[in-house]
C-alpha cells in the first residue's frame, strides 16, 4: 500500500470519527432538550390546573352572605397578569422563564392572601365541606407546581450542563443549541413560606 493512500485513509478516518462524535452530541442534546420540553408541559399543566380552580374560588367567595368585591380584586388582577404572559416552549429562555415566574408567583401570593382574608371574614363559609375540598385542591395544586418546577429545573440543569461542557460546547454552538432558564426561589423567601390559619 502506498504511503499517500495510508495518509488519505487516516484523514478520512479521523473526519469520520469527528462527524460521528458530532452526531452523537447532537442526538444527546436533542434528547435532553426533549426532556426539558416534557418537563415544561408538566409545569404548564400544574399552573393551568390552578388557573382553572380560581373561578371556583371566586364563585364560592361570592356566595358568602356579607361578600365584598374588594376581597377578590387582588386575585382576579393577578390572574389577568398571568394570562398576559406568554412563553415560547421552543425557546424557554432565561428572560421568558423569569417573566413567567414573576407573574405566577404574584398569583401565588394573591391566592394566599385571598384565602387568608376569606377565612378571617367568612368563617361560616370556610367551615363548609365544599370550601374544604376546594382548599385541598388548591393546596395540592401548589404542591404539584413545586414538584414540577423542581423536575423542570433538573431537566434544564442536565441540558445546560451538557451544552456548556467542553468539548460538546463547540458542536452545541455550531448547531444553534441555546441555554435555557431555571425557576429560582424568590429572594425574600429562602425558607418555605407557610401561610397558616385556623378556622
Amino acid at each position: 500500500m502506498k504511503k499517500s493512500t495510508i495518509t488519505i485513509l487516516a484523514v478520512v478516518g479521523v473526519l469520520a470519527i469527528i462527524v460521528l462524535w458530532g452526531i452523537s452530541v447532537n442526538n444527546k442534546l436533542v434528547t435532553l432538550e426533549e426532556n426539558v420540553s416534557k418537563a415544561w408541559s408538566q409545569v404548564e399543566n400544574a399552573y393551568k390546573r390552578r388557573m382553572d380552580l380560581i373561578p371556583q374560588l371566586v364563585n364560592t367567595v361570592q356566595g358568602a352572605a356579607n361578600y365584598e368585591k374588594s376581597v377578590l380584586t387582588e386575585v382576579t388582577n393577578a390572574r389577568a397578569g398571568v394570562q398576559q404572559t406568554q412563553v415560547d416552549p421552543s425557546q424557554l429562555s432565561e428572560e421568558q422563564i423569569a417573566a413567567y415566574q414573576k407573574a405566577q408567583d404574584n398569583l401565588t401570593k394573591a391566592l394566599a392572601n385571598t384565602i387568608k382574608v376569606t377565612v378571617e371574614r367568612y368563617p361560616e363559609l370556610t367551615a363548609t365541606q365544599g370550601f374544604r375540598d376546594l382548599q385541598a385542591q388548591l393546596e395540592g395544586t401548589e404542591n404539584r407546581i413545586t414538584t414540577e418546577r423542581g423536575k423542570f429545573n433538573e431537566a434544564v440543569q442536565a441540558y445546560n450542563t451538557k451544552l456548556r461542557r467542553f468539548p460538546a460546547s463547540i458542536i452545541a454552538g455550531m448547531l444553534g443549541f441555546e441555554k435555557k432558564g431555571y425557576f429560582t426561589a424568590p429572594e425574600e423567601a429562602a425558607e418555605p413560606v407557610d401561610v397558616k390559619f385556623d378556622f
Binding site: 401570593k109 375540598d133 393546596e139 414538584t147 426561589a185 418555605p192 407557610d194 401561610v195 385556623d198
Partner: protein, 252 residues
Amino acid sequence: MVLLAFVPAALSQSEWTPKKSNRLVNDYSGMLSQEQQNTLEQRLVAFNDSTSNQIVIVITPTLQGDASWAVATRIGQTWGVGQKDFNNGLVILIKSKTEEEPSGDVAIATGYGVEGALPDAFCKRIIDDYMVEPLGKGDYYTALTEALDIIEPVLRGEYSYADYKKSERTSALIGLLVVLGFVGVPAVIAYFYNKKHPNNKGNHGGNRNHTSGSYPWFMGSGSSGRSSGWGGGGFGGFGGGSFGGGGASGKF
C-alpha cells in the same frame, strides 16, 4: 387547623428521603407490632400482585424540617413506587410525634396515574375523616387499615391487571426488535466483512463468540426482570412509577 404551605421551587440538594427498602410497610418509628406489620405487608403485596398498584407505607420519626407531602412525593419518585408505564403508586407517610419533633403529620401522595381516581380533595377527606382521630390516639394500625379499606377498592376500579399484561406483551415485542437490531446488524456486517476478507479467520471466530454471547444476555435480563416483579409470595420490587405532587396532607 389548616396549613397552606407555599413552598418556593427548591434547587437545594438537601432534600431528605427515608432510606429505600424492599418492603411495602416501613415502620422506622416502631409504632406497629411485628404482627401488624406482617399483616399489612401481606395485604399490600397481595394488592400489588392482583392489580399491579403499589401502595407504600412509611412511618418516620422525622421529616428533617421538610413538609410531609414533599417527603411523601420524594419517596414515591425516588423509590419508584408504582409501575413505570402506569405510574400507579401511592405513598402513605406518617410522621410520628417525638420529643424533638412534637408535631404529628400524615400525607398521602398519589402517582400521576392514580390522581384521577384519588383527587386531592378525596385524599384530604380520607386523612381528616378516617386517619387523624385514630392517629391522635396512637392507633396507627386502625388509621392505616381504615384508609386502605377505602383506597384499595377505588384503585381497583382505575384500571385492570389485564392492561398491565397487555403492555407487558408490547414491551416484550419491542425487546425482541431491539435484540434483532443489536445482534442482527453486527452479524450482517460481520458476514459481509468476512466474505471480503476470507483470510481473516481469527476475527471471524471472535465475532461469532461475541454475538452468541450477547443473545442470551438480552433474553436473560428481560425475563428475569419480569419474573422478579411477579414471583408471588414476597414483594418483588418497585416498578419505577413517577409522582407529581398530587395528594393531601394533614396533622394529628
